[in-house]
Symmetry: C2
Subunit: 384 residues, 2 copies
């Protein structure tokens, strides 16, 4: 599909608030990750939940990604409609969602599903037998205790593997996500977590193989670990999502710098409380999301870091508060008594978000900013 | 317009996660607020930002509301298309949005706009003069220091009034929103804040009138103050939004009980970490929103209070954590070692949200649950 045409709008005329994607930064982020995966000798399967946008995913595929990861079956359906067949639905399958998964496979989508329990595995094989469908199922491994999955040393791993394999499903592999990497902020800790993620997933694969079960795929990943792994022996593919835009949480984790953040929210100053050092902007939490992911990190950016219209960071200026459609812009530490003169009513600014996945989801579309200042509209979707 | 037809789905079959509106509870909430406003002798202008749904707003109008309040010009356009003419856009007007406001008025919408600065007032009258349009403008009053507005004793109040009136705009009145009422949790403090809100707005109106300026409308409101005001002398209308659904934040403020909450998120159990006492559900922060509004209140519900499929609260069970599409359900205080037996994979539950405005915004539509268990789809809109 061709890239969307540019619109007549510019950053000076676009209705605010609006979600802006700096296309040059995004492309650099995509190229950096793909080059790293190529050097490590693994396939790369980006997580489309961050953007939910065909234009973004097309750029990831064009750079060398093999298939995508999704967090909802709606994403799977939309990206399959865009021509992508190789899709991993990376949330534990439940009986109620099997009819949707079946329908996608019947439409030619090479959908992979995951499970981490005997009960779900039994439901999948029973449904598959009933409908004559050989589902490809991966087993979710718990590598860091942060959420779902079976630990590689649990007997349940082999039990689930046998239920799937003996029940006629295709046991496609193992996958894990070291989500607790988001809580770290030193290169040493990140590298150690990447190794922990790798080792746990490879251990699970080897346990399945030792039990006589197939395990062709060994899939790991999170943005912090993908960018911190020193080696990926035994791993066949890596998944990561937020790297495509990066955000302030990732900046605090230490895997990007502020000038690599590709998503920002365009906003307009609508008023002031000059005595308090506040400018009021039209980006509240409905635009930024309620995500306060930097609150407990080494630098708290409130609801976001303020930049000028060209995207240059204005050090110390953050969204310190947010109501639904009002953001409170202030200087950290000391009141800016000249705030009303610095940012008069009508001033346009851009705000870097804490969490790109959450902020993007607040908008019906992205406005892709090209190097020449033109904008294109990139659709994204919403809901389940 | 007729009510939407019911669908073939029930709570047992609907895809999850989904936003469920208990229509009987919603109607009781609407009737309670309208009866209170009638008794206090004021008009009621509900804030449509909570639902962004024509079906909900129709029920509010049918119960006696006069016009609506909106937080975006998109809401204004959508509700005007539904046949509502009397609309207050309750976010400070900026020059860049005047063309949209003009277009709405030219389409027959009796749109009111607000300002709290001389600069904005000047821009409004200049644009109005240029386009031959007499905008109706209300002045925003700061009654509690929480966000925008002019304090009633500030000279800027009269100055803005004169700019508007002398510049040919229609000075329609004053309005305020005591948003800091959300931080309170005793009837005495709430009643005092309601009186503070009322007194500040009436003082502003009287100051304008004493200066020879018109001020027909005196508009106040927030859900907590609207439900706590003992008298509203001098006030002509009240605005409130979240009362239509209520939520856990309002329960902690003390203006509703848990069994009045009309919005919940339908979810499915997808797995367990039994040793930790966790059930994993398919309502993560993408469904609940990232709003943690109960975190600093007297009872912290995490990302939401867990209920059974009939909406009965399961005391002590909350969403203690959330990733994008995963919620962690656990019992507060002590691990439930039987969590996997209590909530097997496939179990359907309903989660009461912290903040109905934020949770509703995560969904493309509501599923309205009738007393007989049937469901109807109510559209809602998204974005700006």
């Amino acid at each position: 599909m061709p890239d969307p045409a540019t619109t007549a709008d510019t950053l000076d005329t676009l209705d605010t608030p609006a979600a802006i994607v700096d296309t040059a930064r995004m492309q650099r982020n995509i190229d950096r990750m793909q080059a790293r995966m190529n050097a490590l000798g693994v396939a790369f399967r980006p997580h489309a939940k961050t953007s939910k946008s065909p234009a973004v995913v097309r750029a990831q595929i064009a750079a060398g990604a093999r298939g995508v990861t999704v967090s909802t079956l709606k994403e799977a359906a939309r990206f399959h409609a865009e021509g992508i067949d190789d899709i991993l639905y990376a949330v534990g399958m439940v009986p109620g969602k099997l009819p949707q998964a079946l329908a996608l496979r019947r439409q030619g989508c090479d959908l992979k599903i995951i499970t981490d329990s005997v009960a779900s595995a039994q439901a999948i094989v029973a449904f598959g037998a009933e409908h004559g469908e050989r589902f490809e199922v991966w087993i979710e491994i718990d590598s860091d205790g942060h959420r779902s999955g079976i630990r590689p040393d649990e007997p349940a791993l082999i039990e689930v593997g046998r239920v799937l394999h003996d029940g006629g499903a295709r046991l496609g592999g193992v996958m894990t996500h070291a989500g607790s990497s988001y809580d770290l902020d030193t290169p040493e800790a990140l590298a150690a977590m990447a190794e922990q993620e790798r080792a746990a997933c490879v251990e699970a694969a080897e346990a399945l193989r030792a039990a006589g079960l197939p395990c062709p795929v060994v899939s790991v990943g999170s943005t912090p670990t993908a960018l911190s792994a020193a080696r990926l022996d035994g791993v066949t593919e890596v998944r990561a999502g937020v790297y495509v835009f990066f955000d302030l949480v990732m900046r605090n984790v230490g895997v990007c710098t502020e000038d690599e953040l590709a998503l920002s929210v365009l906003t307009t100053v609508i008023g002031h409380q000059a005595e308090k050092g506040w400018a009021i902007v039209d980006a509240g939490w409905m635009a930024m999301s309620r995500d306060r992911g930097t609150q407990k990190q080494k630098q708290d950016f409130g609801y976001g870091q303020v930049c000028d219209l060209d995207g240059r960071v204005l050090p110390g200026y953050v969204l310190s508060g947010a109501n639904q459609e009002h953001g409170i812009l202030s200087r950290e530490g000391s009141h800016d008594e000249a705030i009303a003169e610095r940012f008069p009513v009508g001033t346009r600014l851009r705000i870097l978000p804490n969490h790109a996945c959450a902020t993007g989801a607040q908008f019906p579309e992205y406005h892709a900013l090209n190097a020449d200042g033109t904008l294109a509209t990139w659709s994204r979707f919403h809901g389940w």
